[in-house]
């Protein structure tokens, strides 16, 4: 803290100071964690952790669906908000989209008259359901001034309820081949990469992105500068909803079945990925590049635990610790940046 400005100094006397991008620190963190598991791998298992293509492939596949959600959640958190509903929206959209993707040869289809539909129908319905959930979140937050935490908590419970009510708890299965293809092989990863690139560019180079950071940085400043904060927040929550809907489609297609419990706790994983990746819960800071690195850290840790044969119960507890740890790290970062 030696560079704290002396308020009476002239501006010329101040040293040029530009923080190195937060993503670099996250990348270093990722490398360190990967190396730790590599060393543990040789010590405990007598084999390499990283030099195993199949393990890496499964790891990426596992995290990329949550990664799609995290892209939307990151944008919400940059505005200074939070989205707790994304996991439940995944569950609801998985059920609803899948019910419009069933084959006619399956006798117990949800809508026996609406089978073998072209694949765009279930996709559009899935994205539309996500959009609707995001729109309701956004309208509540922008116009009733309910805190985002409460508004999206309400959506979290409601969307989960819809997922269960939709088929009275029955799973929905037997999708068409073209729907199944959305989740086949590495397609989910490709969808994640496409979304990540798209939204990284949008956040960095468009007015939408600039205003997203401005609102999270100083909402009052954004308002008096003429930004329509309400309309912008609605757009951000809508985008987060659509991405959760997309994740629901991908997840159900990958599993070839949709269950009402799909996506439980995904919202917390997504928030953790964003925060580990340098997105500040106080708003104003974060990027999709960071979140992607956060996602990889998350994936490496989970995959590393499995590799080291750590019991599943411990894994859950450790995951809880990671989430809390990420938030503590964020609080610590905020304290420092407040003083600079």
């Amino acid at each position: 803290m030696t560079e704290v400005a002396n308020p009476t100094k002239t501006s010329e006397a101040l040293p040029v100071r530009r923080n190195r991008p937060a993503e670099i620190n996250v990348l270093i963190g990722l490398l360190v964690i990967a190396i730790v598991f590599e060393i543990l791998g040789w010590l405990v298992q007598g084999q390499s952790f990283l030099a195993n293509g199949e393990r890496l492939r499964i790891m990426i596949l596992q995290v990329s669906v949550v990664g799609i959600i995290a892209i939307g959640v990151t944008q919400v958190i940059i505005t200074g908000g939070i989205d707790l509903s994304s996991g439940s929206v995944v569950g609801a959209t998985a059920m609803i989209a899948m019910s419009f993707a069933q084959v006619s040869t399956y006798p117990r289809a949800v809508f026996p008259g609406l089978t073998d539909l072209p694949v765009v129908v279930p996709i559009a319905i899935g994205l539309g359901c996500g959009l609707l959930a995001g729109l309701i979140n956004g309208l509540l937050i922008a116009y009733t001034r309910i805190p985002p935490f409460i508004a999206t908590l309400g959506m979290m419970v409601t969307a989960r309820g819809i997922a269960k009510w939709y088929t009275k708890g029955q799973p929905v299965s037997f999708p068409t081949d073209s729907y199944a293809a959305i989740g086949a092989g590495m397609t989910p990863v490709l969808i994640f990469i496409a979304m990540a690139i798209l939204f990284q560019l949008i956040l960095r180079y468009t007015i939408y992105g600039r205003h997203t950071y401005a609102i999270g940085s100083n909402e009052q400043a954004a308002r008096v500068s003429g930004i329509n904060v309400e309309r912008h927040l609605i757009l951000v929550y809508v985008i987060a909803g659509v991405l959760a809907g997309l994740a629901g489609v991908v997840l159900s297609a990958r599993g070839l079945t949709a269950q009402s419990g799909m996506g439980v706790m995904y919202e917390l994983d997504a928030i953790a990925m964003a925060v580990i990746g340098g997105t500040s819960l106080a708003g104003g800071r974060g990027s999709i590049v960071g979140t992607t690195l956060g996602m990889l850290i998350f994936g490496v840790i989970i995959s590393g635990f499995t590799f080291l044969r750590i019991d599943a119960y411990y894994q859950e507890m450790l995951k809880g610790l990671i989430i809390v740890g990420a938030v503590v790290l964020d609080v610590y970062r905020q304290r420092y940046r407040g003083r600079s």
Binding site: A5, N6, P7, T8, K9, T10, S11, E12, L14, V16, R17, R18, N19, I202, Y205, T206, I207, Y208, R210, H211, Y213, A214, G216, S217, N218, Q220, A221, A222, R223, V224, S225, G226, I227, H232, L235, G284, R285, R337, S340
Partner: protein
């Protein structure tokens, strides 16, 4: 409309603002002539910032009328006031700390390559060039414009906020306690920017507690006390003692402006 009113830039008639039961501003009759620099002084809570929020569209007044540049106006938002050429440096720095200098200068009026609504691509090169120009005109030196506001000193931040207002203002510029948190040299820099505005003929409303600064810079001083305007005196016809007694209420209202 008489000749004296023609060169009136801003005039308020019976302007009032209530927050619930709090009468933050009552019956404010204020006027500002073309090219004139005026100060608003008054104790904390006198209603100065409230007055600024009413005339800049940040809030809607509870009663009264505002005339700007000869026309009655009802600004529904700050952007409407801004589109009329009014720029404001609000008391709590209205900057986004996580953005750099050009982004802050152009916040809410970004340069774009082509219009795709919110997804329009920013013309960062143009904004950077304009930002360099704006800072040069106001004589503000900031080593790295791409640096985030968060990493700058209080003086640099305030200079950015003032440069933003100064470079876009065409009709009126309002500064609410711009030097309250600054050191001696930074204050001098801000005062220089204000003098430049005077020479450019842009009217100014300066809110300040610093009477030395007020007497140095403005033509006329408006005194607020407990939500009311209790005096408007020419700098040349008053002194610090009179102003202080008006601020504190030792001396009762003088020179209620005459709108005949």
């Amino acid at each position: 409309m008489s000749d004296t009113q023609k060169d009136m830039i801003l005039k308020t008639v019976g302007l009032a603002k209530r927050y619930g039961g709090v009468h933050a501003l009552e019956d404010a009759n204020f006027e500002l002539k073309a090219g004139e620099h005026v100060a608003i002084v008054g104790d904390n809570g006198a209603g100065k910032s409230t007055f600024v929020r009413q005339i800049t569209g940040v809030e809607q007044p509870s009663a009264g009328e505002i005339y700007f540049d000869g026309e009655k106006v009802e600004f529904k938002s700050p952007i409407e006031a801004r589109d009329c050429g009014i720029e404001t440096v609000f008391q709590n720095l209205a900057l986004a700390d996580d953005l750099d200098v050009p982004s802050n200068l152009f916040l809410g009026r970004e340069e774009r390559y082509f219009n795709l609504g919110p997804f329009s691509i920013l013309n960062e090169r143009k904004m950077l060039a304009h930002a360099q120009d704006a800072l040069r005109t106001t004589g503000v030196k900031i080593p790295d414009l791409r640096n985030k506001i968060r990493n700058m000193s209080g003086g640099q931040r305030q200079c950015v906020a003032i440069s933003r207002a100064a470079s876009f203002a065409s009709k009126l510029i309002i500064m609410d306690e711009p030097t309250a948190a600054l050191g001696v040299q930074e204050t001098a820099q801000v005062e220089n920017i204000i003098r430049t505005l005077k020479s450019r003929g842009i009217p100014l409303i300066l809110i300040s507690h610093n009477l030395r600064q007020v007497f140095d810079l403005v033509d006329r001083i408006w005194v607020f006390r407990r939500g009311r305007i209790v005096g408007a005196v020419d700098r040349s016809k008053t002194d610090g003692n009179e102003i202080v007694s008006l601020i504190t209420g030792v001396k009762a209202a003088v020179d209620a402006p005459d709108f005949a």
